[in-house]
Symmetry: C2
Subunit: 256 residues, 2 copies
Amino acid sequence: MRAPDELLALVEDALAEVAFSPVLAGLTEAMGYAVTGGGKRIRPVVCLATAEAAGGRAEDALPAAVALELVHTFSLVHDDLPSMDDDDERRGRPSVHVAHGEGVALLAGDALLVEGMRFGLSYDRPEPARELFEATLGMIGGQFLDVTGADVSLADLHRLKTGRLFAAAVGLGLWTADVPAVEQAPWRAFGEELGVLFQAIDDVIDGDGYAAELGEDGAREVAAAAAHRAHERLDAIAADTSVLGALVDGLAVRTA
Amino acid sequence: MRAPDELLALVEDALAEVAFSPVLAGLTEAMGYAVTGGGKRIRPVVCLATAEAAGGRAEDALPAAVALELVHTFSLVHDDLPSMDDDDERRGRPSVHVAHGEGVALLAGDALLVEGMRFGLSYDRPEPARELFEATLGMIGGQFLDVTGADVSLADLHRLKTGRLFAAAVGLGLWTADVPAVEQAPWRAFGEELGVLFQAIDDVIDGDGYAAELGEDGAREVAAAAAHRAHERLDAIAADTSVLGALVDGLAVRTA
C-alpha cells in the first residue's frame, strides 16, 4: 500500500513516458506543454490508490490513470479557449492557445482526447474504456450546461462537469483490480463525495461556483460535509482504505 | 451484394437511429444538426461495400460505418470554426458555430468524436477501435500540418488529412468481415487510391488544393490516375468488387 506521494511519482513517470502517435508530428509540442503544466494529478492518483485499496496493483491501473489525466487535460485546453472561459493563464503559465495559437490548441485538445481514449483501450475487458467514454461524455454535457447558462443547480452541474471524471477515477481503479460490478457501489459512493469535496475547495480557491453562491464559509461547509461523508463511505468498505482517507484529508486542506 | 444506393439507405437509417448519450442533454441538438446536414456518406458506404465484397455482412459493419461518419462530422465541425478555416457555411446551410454559437460547436465536435469512438467499441475484437483511433489521429495530424502551413507536399498532406479516414473505411470493412491482416494489403492499397481520387475531385469542386496547385485540368488528371489505379487494385483482388468499382466511377464524376 503506497502513500500518495509514491503514487504521484508513478503517475509522473508514466506521463513522462507517454509516446504520442508520431503521425501528430509537431502538434505533440502543444500537447506536451499542456500535460506538463504542473497539474496536481489528483484523478490518476485516486485511480491508483483505489486499485491498491481494492487489492489490485497500481502498475496495472497506470494506463487508466494516464487516460484520465489526458482526458482531463483535453478538457482544460478546450475550456480555456476564447469561445469558452477565455482564460489566458493556466497554473501560472500562458494557456495553450496563448502559447501555441488558437487553432493549434483546438487540435491539441482533440488529439489529447483521442490519445486518452486509446489508453482506455489498454485492457482486455471492455469496461474501462466504456467507463472512460461515458464519464467524458458526462463531463462534456456538464460543460454544455455551464456554457449555455442552463437552469440547473450547482450540485447537478458539478456532478457532471467534475464528478463524472472523479467517479471514473474510482471506477477505473476498481475494474483494473478486478472488483466485480456488484461489489463496486460503496466505492463509487466514495468517488461521488470526493468529486464534491474537490470542486467545493476549487471554488474557494478560485472564488467562484459554491464560493460565489454561498460565500467562502458556505463553500467550506459543503467541502467539510463531503469530506465527512467520504470518510463514512470508506469506513463502510471492508478493506484498508487508509491511503484514500489520506487523499480526502489532503484535498480538504489544499490551497492551490 | 447491394448497390451503393441500398448501402446508403442502410447508413442513413443507422444514423437516424443513433441515440446520443442522454447526459449530453441539449448539446445533441447541435450534434444532430451537424450529422443531418446532407453529407454524402461516402466513408460509411465504402465501409459497407468493402465488408460485402470481402464476404461479410453490411449489417455487421454498420457500427463501424456510423463511427466513421461521426468522426468525419466532428472534423468538419471543428474545421469550420473561426480559429481554423472560418467557414460560415457548410453544404448550403449555416455551419454549426454560426447556427449554435462557437462554444457549443466546440463541445458538439468533442462529443461527436467521443460518440464516434464509442461506436468503434462495438466489436469483440480490438482492431476496429484501434484502426479508427489511429486514423483519427492521422487526420488531426494532417489538419495540424495544414493549419500551420508546414512544408509538406499536397500528396503527403492529403494522405493524412483525408486518406487516413478513407483507408480506415476500407480497413474497418475488412475487420468486420473477418479478413485476416495478412490478406488485407491489396484492399488497403485500393483504399489509399480512393482517398486520392476523392480529394482531387473535392479540390476541383472547391477550387483549392490540387486545383489551385495544378489547375483544374491538372487536378482532374490526378483524379483520373487515382481512379485508374483504384480499378487496377480491385482487379487484383479475387472477389466480386463490382460495387466498389461503381463507387470509384461515381466519385470520379461527382460534381458536389
